[in-house]
Amino acid sequence: MQISLTINGKSHSNDIEPRMSLVHYLREVMDLTGTHVGCDTSGCGACTITLDGNAVKSCTLLAVQADGCEIMTIEGMANGEQMHPIQEAFKENHGLQCGFCTPGMVMTAVDILKSNPNPTEEEIRHGLEGNFCRCTGYHNIVKSIQQAAEQLNS
């Protein structure tokens, strides 16, 4: 099946198998391996990307469902050398250790801050509910998102 979509600001057209998942398409066809796979039951959030601006788990969608959509993956967050304020905040606050959950966390943070530019700690924790991190205990991820919010609002 033919799909056309925009990924990180560039248009792409591909002929793909209808049963291919979106995350598989991103990783295997587009070589965008920053989006990770941590489970097979939509439970971990490692595969989170934004689709038309909203965070979605790319393992739960078929690539064909993204036809005509605009996708942003972790690879599209930085502006050349310049990292996005959310990425900067994760670095500044040690919001990552092994880095495996990190792309999903950052993309979820985009969504959290889009709908709520001044989230409380509780709202951030609630917003991260769909994303596992096994390394950080979430403490520094929450702090990162708090700092990113301040940064983006200033």
Binding site: G99, E129, F132, C135
Partner: protein
């Protein structure tokens, strides 16, 4: 403190991770790479009657299919630690085959592997493999596994024990002391089974180069050299110099990626058979079924006290599951990493532990963050808190009463325990005092009394732990059954321009070695961090190493690097003396240059480096170059310790436990990077909280796993935990050059009993004295009703 040591330097590795440019194994694609899928047993215990691959072979894109009847069936993975029976009989060590032949011993054991052009095609074809099984009764509980009627995991030995073992004082002496004790506190419980759940599932790619006769194995491992050694010398019998093991970025390990897994060896074997690279990445369901689990001890314990609350004796019997086979470190976990910590931080004069380690029809159990030490800490910290309640003492007071007094281990030897170890240095009352201060203990007790009057269930739990880290002095572990040395290698290569490459045999899978190791090397050499690169994870680059686990990387790996740095400076001084026409003893080294004391004559590190590689005007007889490798074998373990305190509120209608505060005051010796140490503690604490409140691997009686996905296995999510309040005391390790003790496991060791103690405290006025982990709402609710 130098320019970098002790500072929260931001991590260099973050840039690639934050840009989605990490290099995890599954991200690697090789030309002509094939993909593998497994056929795994749906039964825990069964005979394999027949495997029919004929339909699968005809499927699209299939490259090859192998079963245990093929050549790979001749191989098995070894165990790295031998713990014999206490009567001297040899540990029972079954063959752990790469693919099951005629017998299945745990759910998910692999019976066939299908290799195809794509993953989808491999999975499609795997579905066409027909296996006839005859299901047999299974046993999954370690205590039941020792009953005479229990189904046998390995028939040849007549019962399921892999070994039984004891440590400490003479049992009869301990029993006698208990019989005459003023008070005896008793506990029976299960330190239940958990799944490590590193977020990156295991992944391997094997690639055989027919022209060079050389294999490359890309693997998500914590210890590439150990995997190479096991693969070459103990499994496939292939030449070690023809094998390269690469482990770039690894998405968490927590112990589960230490071991040499069957899939690694099988893929390596297949890559030569098919002459093409082959990849396999576990999915999460397979991870639950095949990654080594942690804990699973059935415990019966008695602790005796005198009338002042001083411990007089401690006796424990445990059944500790090994699973269906013996994983790489498995026998060491409930023995030398567990029984040796039964002294805890207390002066207990008489201790005896007996461990029976049975095979069970489950996946293997091995080290999981803390490995044996969390289980020891859970026992000691629960039972002493339970005793305090029974004896109407304050849980902090009973601890102060029993602490080993502070010692720095510098002029006097450390503290000799009843269970083989000698602690290096410690100040256990210091961390408890600080922890209580952080909480505001007295105010909390007042608040608790008030809350109770208002019908609120508020509780506080204390845990004061110690752990043995910096694994490990080779001769000591050798005498205890380890089949490997546990030294570390640090290689410092100074280039002609004075830039430095450091090669370490430890491995970073989240710990931040690329940053921390560069910090102390920069300080020792007096050069900028930017001039230093840390390399790890490739056996062709790094001479040798034993990997990362047991909080060893800095204490052992860092010490090896320091040794090489010292050799660089020693040789550099000879070159500098020659160039400065001074005597070596008249030189001092600081801020990246050698200076003739009392003069302004100096030469920089960069100039000396260049001279070493352009040795025209050079000391006679001295070799060119500035490149040193060192092996460091520690003289002792290191012993971090700390106090963890949890505050919980229990919902009296639903039994749900709300963790309101968590306080951790840890002492990990000197700290290189406080930000990273705090991060390690926070993460470890939440893993320990996970075991206390949420996580449990449950097998039913037939050996089916009923918690095999994130739908059923509850791990802590962001809204299950509060911010973690951390602080530190600093008691340096007296026997390694950086004075460090290790911080990777502490969080997971201290936290679990603190949480359960808090829940019991919250419910104690209702008559609750103990509660089984994980403390689910259902368990709490039931306990409240009784």
């Amino acid at each position: 403190m130098g320019n970098f040591i002790g500072k929260s330097v931001k991590r260099r590795e973050d840039a690639r991770f934050l840009r989605g440019a990490g290099r995890y194994t599954d991200d690697i694609k090789l030309p002509k790479m094939t993909q593998a899928a497994f056929v795994r047993s749906p039964y825990a215990h069964a005979k394999v009657l027949n495997i029919d691959i004929s339909e699968a072979q005809k499927a699209d894109g299939v490259v090859a299919i192998y079963t245990g009847q093929d050549g790979c069936g001749a191989y098995g993975v070894p165990c790295g630690w031998q713990v014999n029976f206490k009567n001297g009989d040899t540990m029972r060590e079954p063959v752990h085959p790469l693919l099951a032949k005629d017998k299945i011993r745990h759910l998910g054991e692999a019976v066939a592997i299908v290799v195809a052009e794509t993953l989808e095609l491999a999975r499609d074809a795997a579905e066409l493999v027909e296996v006839d099984y005859e299901e047999l009764p299974a046993v999954t509980d370690p205590k039941k596994a020792m009953e005479p009627s229990a189904p046998l995991v390995h028939e040849e030995w007549g019962d399921n024990a892999a070994f039984d073992w004891c440590i400490g004082n003479d049992r009869t002496e301990v029993e006698a002391a208990l019989a005459s004790a003023h008070h005896v506190t008793e506990m029976e419980y299960r330190n239940h089974r958990v799944a490590p759940n590193a977020m990156e599932p295991r992944s391997y790619i094997a690639d055989y180069d027919i022209n060079a006769g050389k294999w490359t194995l890309y693997t998500s491992t914590q210890n590439p050299h150990l995997i190479r050694l096991l693969l070459c010398a103990f499994v496939l019998g292939i030449p070690e110099h023809k094998v390269r093991v690469v482990s770039y970025d690894v998405g968490g390990g927590f112990g589960s990626k230490i071991y040499h897994y069957t899939e690694e060896a099988l893929l390596t074997w297949i890559s030569k058979e098919i002459g093409r690279p082959v990849k396999w990445t576990s999915d999460r369901s397979e991870a639950f079924l095949t990654d080594a689990h942690g804990r699973d001890h059935v415990v019966h314990s008695k602790m005796g006290f005198d009338k002042d609350g001083k411990i007089v004796a401690h006796l424990t019997d445990e059944y500790c599951a090994m699973g269906a086979y013996l994983s790489t470190f498995a026998p060491a976990v409930p023995t030398y990493l567990h029984g040796t910590l039964f002294q805890g931080v207390y002066t207990t004069p008489l201790i005896h532990l007996n461990v029976v380690a049975p095979f069970t029809h489950t996946v293997v159990v091995d080290a999981y963050r803390g490995a044996g030490r969390p289980e020891a800490t859970y026992l000691l910290e629960r039972i002493i808190s339970k005793a305090a309640k029974e004896m109407k003492m304050d849980p902090a007071d009973i601890r102060f009463k029993n602490f080993i007094p502070p010692f720095d281990g510098i002029d006097e030897p450390g503290y000799q325990t009843q269970v083989a170890l000698q602690y290096d240095s410690g100040n256990y009352e210091g961390v408890l005092k600080r922890g209580l201060e952080m909480l505001g203990y007295e105010d909390f007790r007042k608040e608790q009394t008030k809350a109770r009057k208002n019908g609120k269930l508020l509780g506080v739990g204390i845990s004061t732990y110690i752990e043995g880290c910096g694994i490990a002095p080779s001769a000591v572990v050798g005498s205890l059954g380890a089949r490997a040395g546990l030294f570390e290698v640090g290689h410092v290569r100074v280039q002609p321009t004075g830039k430095v490459q450091v090669f370490t045999g430890t491995h970073s899978h989240g710990q931040g070695h690329e940053t921390v190791f560069a910090q102390f090397v920069a300080d020792k050499l007096g050069i900028p961090m930017d001039d230093i690169e840390i390399e790890h994870g490739d056996t062709d680059q790094v001479a040798f190493g034993m990997g990362t686990y047991g909080s060893r990387s800095l204490a052992v790996g860092g010490s090896a690097i320091i040794k090489s740095v010292e050799k660089v400076l020693e040789k550099g001084a000879k070159i500098a003396a020659h160039k400065l026409e001074a005597a070596e003893k008249d030189l001092e080294y600081a801020e990246g240059k050698w200076t003739v004391k009392g003069t302004d004559k100096s030469i920089s590190f960069g100039d000396v480096s260049l001279t070493a590689y352009v040795p025209h005007d050079y000391p006679e007889g001295l070799e060119p170059g500035l490149d040193f490798s060192s092996f460091y074998d520690p003289s002792n373990f290191t012993y971090p310790f700390g106090t963890h305190i949890a505050v919980v509120e229990v919902d009296k209608d639903t039994g749900k436990v709300d963790l309101q505060r968590f306080i951790a005051c840890d002492d990990v010796g000197n700290v290189m990077n406080p930000m990273i140490v705090d991060g390690q503690i926070q993460g470890g604490v939440v893993q320990g909280v996970g075991q206390a409140l949420l996580e449990e691997v449950v097998y039913d009686d037939s050996g089916q796993m009923i918690t095999g996905s994130y739908m059923d296995y509850a791990m802590p999510r962001a809204d299950d935990v509060p911010m973690i309040e951390t602080d530190r005391t600093v008691t340096p390790c007296p026997h390694n050059p950086l004075g460090v003790k290790g911080a990777g496991e502490a969080g997971a060791i201290g936290s679990t009993p603190a949480v359960v103690n808090a829940v019991v405290d919250a419910l104690s006025h209702l008559g609750v004295t103990d509660i089984q982990m994980p403390v689910t709402p259902q368990r709490v609710w039931k306990a409240m009703q009784n």
